[in-house]
Symmetry: C2
Subunit: 424 residues, 2 copies
């Protein structure tokens, strides 16, 4: 696992070739076979829970020895509950509808041809992530479900745990009669391997990074292979004139404080000046009582005197913490302009009963997810009914928003004729 192949590029190319060969079989396999593979992998994980936890303890001890942060170590740790959650997650993916072979559209044309658009596997998917063992299972599982081959490159601190979990996925594939190279782990902790994955154009079809801003930033900068990712989630909740006061309080406290460290957490609240005198106090008090630091613009501080002054930098800051910036805006137009300027294109919510404001908000803004009277924390594949997600994408090509099994597909056209030739 830690041995460095002498030629890293050749090593990654070999993994990619193995993966391409696997896709040929996986992409045309039955949904039943792919589901069987997922269930066999779940059984492996349950049966060998003790062994997996033993490997995980080695990783945790090493991580503690070279001083990984407490938060990182918490994400690395596996216990009975987390192991069961991984196994159950695979079974939940197995229970989803088959994303392959679906007739996405069908129509006839005047020449008499009948055209169908059929969903297909996307190909080889490279997943680059930090030391979170569960990503090995989630991402590998979604790739198996969608007939794609996964090349998984996890953080070096989770090497022992990931090796066994990768073995679970490969064992599942093999038991289902599918090529085990549908899931491959990069068997070196040399960081150069990532660089070769990012430039494997024509060999790896798409890269999905899972991790913090610095990881994603590096990947987006270096990648020549297309990337499904978001760099950060600077999400806004906009309380417009016509909002119900209690609803605004409940949504803001939830959107910010339910979990502050996720990308769908609200970072900035905008509020119309017409209602600020009435609603700003109750909303910020509720947030402060929940333990949130509230940083306000000048106008907001003229209304509420206990806010921390917000600076220009606050509007572009993904706190991922119990901090919220607040800005009073003249109207919906100014709110939309602020969001267009500062948003990372992830998720924005409007809270109001005013249908004209709602209409402008969802039409003029072009973030991946626009919410009406709901917490931005619903920006999640599970909450969208997709069962599981490999990440959330803010790009506009191919995948956008939560990326589940159905978003990991492409399509082909099947055109049926009865001897048609094309006139000159």
């Amino acid at each position: 696992m830690t041995e460095t192949p002498s030629d890293l590029k050749a090593y990654i190319d070999t993994l990619a070739e193995n993966a391409q060969a696997a896709v040929s079989a996986l992409g045309t396999s039955s949904g039943q076979a792919r589901n069987d593979a997922l269930c066999h992998a779940a059984a492996f994980i349950r049966t060998r829970s003790g062994e997996i936890q033993q490997a995980n303890r080695k990783d945790v001890a090493a991580a503690e020895a070279h001083g990984l942060s407490a938060a990182m170590i918490d994400r690395l740790k596996l216990d009975d509950a987390r192991i069961e959650a991984m196994a159950a997650g695979l079974e939940a993916i197995a229970a989803l509808p088959d994303p392959l072979g679906a007739k996405l559209a069908e129509w006839d044309v005047p020449s008499g041809l009948s055209i169908a658009r059929i969903s297909t596997a996307l190909g080889v998917i490279g997943i680059i992530y930090e030391s979170r063992p569960n990503v090995t299972v989630d991402a590998g599982g979604l790739c198996i479900k969608s007939g794609n081959a996964a090349i998984l490159r996890g953080g070096s601190d989770s090497a022992h745990s990931a090796a066994l979990l990768g073995q679970a996925m490969r064992d599942g594939l093999s038991k289902a009669g599918l090529p085990e190279d549908g899931v491959q782990l990069v068997g070196t902790t040399d960081r150069g391997a990532v660089g070769h994955m990012l430039t494997a154009v024509g060999k790896i079809d798409v890269i999905v990074p899972r991790g913090g801003k610095s990881l994603v930033e590096r990947i987006q900068a270096e990648a020549r292979v297309p990337v499904f990712a978001h760099l950060e989630g600077i999400c806004h909740s906009y309380v417009a004139a016509g909002a119900d006061r209690q609803m605004a309080i409940d949504i803001l406290v939830n959107a910010k404080m339910r979990r502050t460290g996720i990308c769908g957490a609200t970072e900035t609240m905008l509020i119309d000046e017409a209602i600020a005198a009435d609603m700003l106090g109750p909303i910020t008090s509720a947030l402060q009582e929940a333990g949130c630091e509230v940083r306000g613009c000048e106008k907001s501080r003229a209304i509420i005197d206990n806010l921390v002054p917000a600076s220009e930098a606050d509007w572009s800051c993904e706190y991922l913490d119990a901090i919220l910036s607040v800005k009073v805006v003249k109207n919906t137009k100014e709110a939309i302009a602020h969001i267009k300027h500062y948003s990372s294109g992830h998720t924005e919510s409007i809270i109001t009963a005013d249908s004209a404001a709602i209409q402008a908000f969802v039409t003029e803004l072009d973030s991946a997810i626009l919410m009406i009277n709901a917490s931005t924390q619903f920006a999640d594949g599970g909450e969208f009914g997709m069962g599981a997600e490999i990440g959330i994408a803010t790009g506009k090509l191919h995948a956008r928003g939560p990326v589940g099994a159905a978003q990991l597909t492409s399509f082909k056209y099947v055109v049926t004729g009865n001897g048609q030739t094309r006139p000159l």
Copy 2:
């Protein structure tokens, strides 16, 4: 038009910023306004036909002077009929359904949220093409229809014609109350401009090359911005056991000879050995009578003695000419293996009444278009009922097959609640 800006990168960045600003308005404009722009542009082209032809004569004279090929000059030339075809093409695009604001999917989730996926403009599209004035109009028109902003960089030999046609598009936008920067021409023939377009990550959303293999090859190699393209069309027609003889003859002659220079033309015929003795002669005779050179594998030459010997290089060759390579295969499995190995992933056709062979062909192959009992020359946006196409894509991300107005869109999620907060 031929003046080189001193800082090419800054020049392209400015065009991209203008384009982004235009998309903001275009992407949220009414379908009626975008259709009006197209019809105004069509009227401009008809009204100023004389002036356009005068500019075109300058381009043609210059092209002849520095020795452009006859084929290139033919593509460059505009006459009354071609001008009318461009104007009518814009009106045909206007008549297509609006690709923006369509509800692509809609569902409810257990939390009570209602989720809709709505089509949106993709953004800024860079189109790089050879000296074909009509591409300025086709590509610009499709971008207007889909609410995108086009940055058009045509071949330098068409500069005078393209300038006026670009003016037609901008005039149309302006008359419809839309930002004229929805269509911009790169106003320099300096080739460095293309390099800056290809690396304008985050400023240009996608590049569409239209031209020969060398142009596309260069663009795919250099681009950091995603590209919708196909490098070449090595299309196969496979005559399987169970084919109707006359249908096979008709389809092969059409697939190869209707137009030999298009990407959907068949380059290789595969035929099952069980029917080769019976059908190979009639098919190759018909092709030869139509003026086609037929190059055969050893087995085929053992059956028909007047074929030119095919070499290994023939199976990877996009002739774009009246030449066809022929290979006798044992069965459907060998045909599929040959296509997987040599195809460029564009279009393949099977000719047979055997449903098992058809099923294997359309399931196991993953080219953009798979045809059953029809000529590969139907691989075309117009024939697919898309009205017009900006090109055909063989990649698997986002667009695949003919790229029409609907493929030039992205989507966003609009999530409607009534106060939902997410449980812990």
